[in-house]
């Protein structure tokens, strides 16, 4: 009996020690001198790093608006609290000015801060873990070439136990790849380059792949679409109805590089940001490579109601400035609002009136009866910008909940042939950011 007791005690002690070591043993640093020696020096590495930083879309999260790029401060409201993006300019006190090469690479690959603390995976190191060490160092060189900005990020506000960052070590064990990207010899050079851009740099899956109960990416549903921060990232698998299987290469390339494609509408919200800050800066070859890789992602079907209606009768019966006669005969608040506020740019036949980006036919947003992105666009507006051109849809938040619900239902019926039931309540919730 006593022997048994001792054995159990021993086991408990060993387990406790192992757990303590697992959670609290300081993270080591890997020597990255060899990778450093393979990199060009000076301006060449900075230039390479600048391109990679764009491909990795660092600016979208590490800046607030377009003021003070890379100085951090953007809040992320998550189910377990709010965390803030950090300052990654080379300021010595509040930025990364004192970080060594090895510390920077450790953060990118393992999500560990300079002080050894575990970082929250809103910083997509589960994707960046696939990045090559040289590319990570080139990004560091670029960031170190920026003007230092003195800006302290506000401290995270997280609920217990999520504020215990060491617990992330268990999460990392499950969800962070332990190896950098390895080209697949069975795939073409372009497909491999695309895979690297999509998976390691672009971290597309962080929004487009649904998360499981542990908030890790559900690899069984890769790119099947998910709602992140109030916006729906659509299914981008090769499924012909639910995903992008039926899109032409040109349409995909246009959507990625310009934020809209003929017959598929325009990107808005987080995707418009990804295009503005990241994708529109990539070379045409890299965009082509991404398209080539996306084609290889296995299709993941979705419920039939979500499919894009190919050519709704209501569009064919309309002209660009007048709705189908059958609609005109009905009294409808939705039509009334659309006529007064939307039609002069979007038109009724889906081709867009004043700007091709305003064409709604084929857009997923007007075909999704849950109305997630539609309400976001109505409430927040949408913006599109390149070096030469900026176009914007204003926010319609001044309209009442009933009016926005009515116009959303009208739009889903008219442009997507969907009978949607968006309620004023749902609009109110979207307004409150719920």
């Amino acid at each position: 009996m006593r022997r048994l007791g001792l054995t159990i005690l021993a086991i408990v002690v060993v387990l406790a020690a192992a757990a303590a070591a697992f959670f609290f043993w300081p993270h080591g640093l890997t020597d990255v001198a060899e990778a450093r020696s393979r990199l060009p020096t000076g301006a060449d590495s900075v230039k390479r790093g600048e391109y990679l930083a764009k491909a990795a879309d660092c600016a979208a999260c590490h800046s607030v608006g377009s003021s003070r790029p890379y100085a951090g401060g953007l809040p992320f409201h998550l189910p377990f609290g709010t965390i803030y993006a950090t300052n990654i300019t080379p300021d010595r006190d509040t930025g990364i000015g004192q970080w060594s090469d090895a510390e920077f690479v450790r953060a990118m690959h393992h999500g560990v801060g300079r002080d050894g603390r575990d970082l929250y995976p809103a910083f997509p190191y589960a994707s960046y873990a696939l990045m090559s060490t040289e590319d990570a160092l080139a990004i560091k060189d670029y960031l170190f070439s920026l003007t230092p900005v003195h800006a302290e990020a506000p401290p995270h506000q997280l609920k217990l136990p999520y504020d215990q960052s060491y617990l992330l070590r268990a999460w990392k064990l499950l969800f962070v790849p332990r190896q950098q990207f390895n080209p697949d010899p069975g795939q073409s050079t372009a497909q491999n380059r695309g895979a690297y851009l999509v998976e390691a740099l672009g971290h597309c899956g962080e929004c487009h792949t649904p998360r499981n109960k542990l908030y890790g990416l559900d690899s069984g549903q890769k790119f099947a679409g998910a709602v992140t921060a109030g916006w729906k990232a659509y299914n981008i698998t090769s499924d012909a109805t639910a995903g992008i299987g039926a899109w032409s290469d040109q349409a995909l390339a246009d959507y990625l590089s310009k934020g809209f494609a003929q017959g598929h509408g325009a990107a808005s919200g987080s995707m418009a940001e990804a295009v503005e800050y990241s994708l529109s800066h990539l070379t045409p070859e890299d965009i082509k490579a991404m398209v080539a890789y996306l084609r290889t992602v296995p299709g993941h079907p979705a419920p039939h109601e979500l499919a894009v209606a190919p050519s709704p009768r209501s569009l064919n019966d309309s002209t660009h400035l007048t709705p189908a006669p059958a609609e005109n005969d009905q009294e409808s608040l939705g039509l009334e609002v659309f006529q007064g506020a939307c039609a002069s740019c979007h038109g009724f036949d889906g081709t867009g009136v004043n700007d091709p980006r305003a064409a709604l036919a084929g857009s997923q947003t007007v075909n999704d009866p849950t109305g997630v992105n539609l309400l976001q666009v109505l409430l927040q507006g949408s913006r599109f910008r390149t070096d030469h051109v900026e176009a914007a849809m204003p926010s319609f938040h001044a309209y009442r909940d009933v009016e926005l619900a009515a116009v959303a239902n009208y739009v889903l019926a008219h442009f997507g042939a969907k009978s949607a039931q968006i309620s004023p309540d749902q609009v109110a919730r979207a307004r409150r950011g719920q």
């Binding site: 400035l321 006529q339 002069s344 070096d387 900026e390 176009a391």
Partner: protein, 150 residues
Amino acid sequence: MVDLNINGEIRSYDVPDDMPLLWVLRDVAGLVGTKFGCGIAQCGACTVHVDGRPARSCVMSVSAVGNRQIRTIEAIGRDPVGQGVQKAWVDLDVVQCGYCQSGQIMSAVALLNVKREPSDADIDAAMAGNVCRCGTYPRIRAAIKTASKV
């Protein structure tokens, strides 16, 4: 070099592909009747016709126009609908400061070309994107109705 068909004349313009049409019209072709208001497709001051349909020239790059026909306010009086609108505008004294009015007229003509006798709702649908800081909206509506009857 970009070839553009403006008011029936095809000419080559030495401008970058992604230059907004409005810049070419005003600064290169010298057609300053079309106005710059917001530059982001919000006000309608820059409206022209591209193949007969209204377009915001401030956000449309010349490469997106291609070989389609551009019509500006300078040539709007060349057909009966345009003339009717011009006359109604003068008869009802629609204009106040005038800055938005080229765009208003372009949108009004585009509407009358697809709907000869537009209802109030049709006018709302076609004209809501043309902002007038002077608030001439009631006279614009009345003038469109007058023009629709000739």
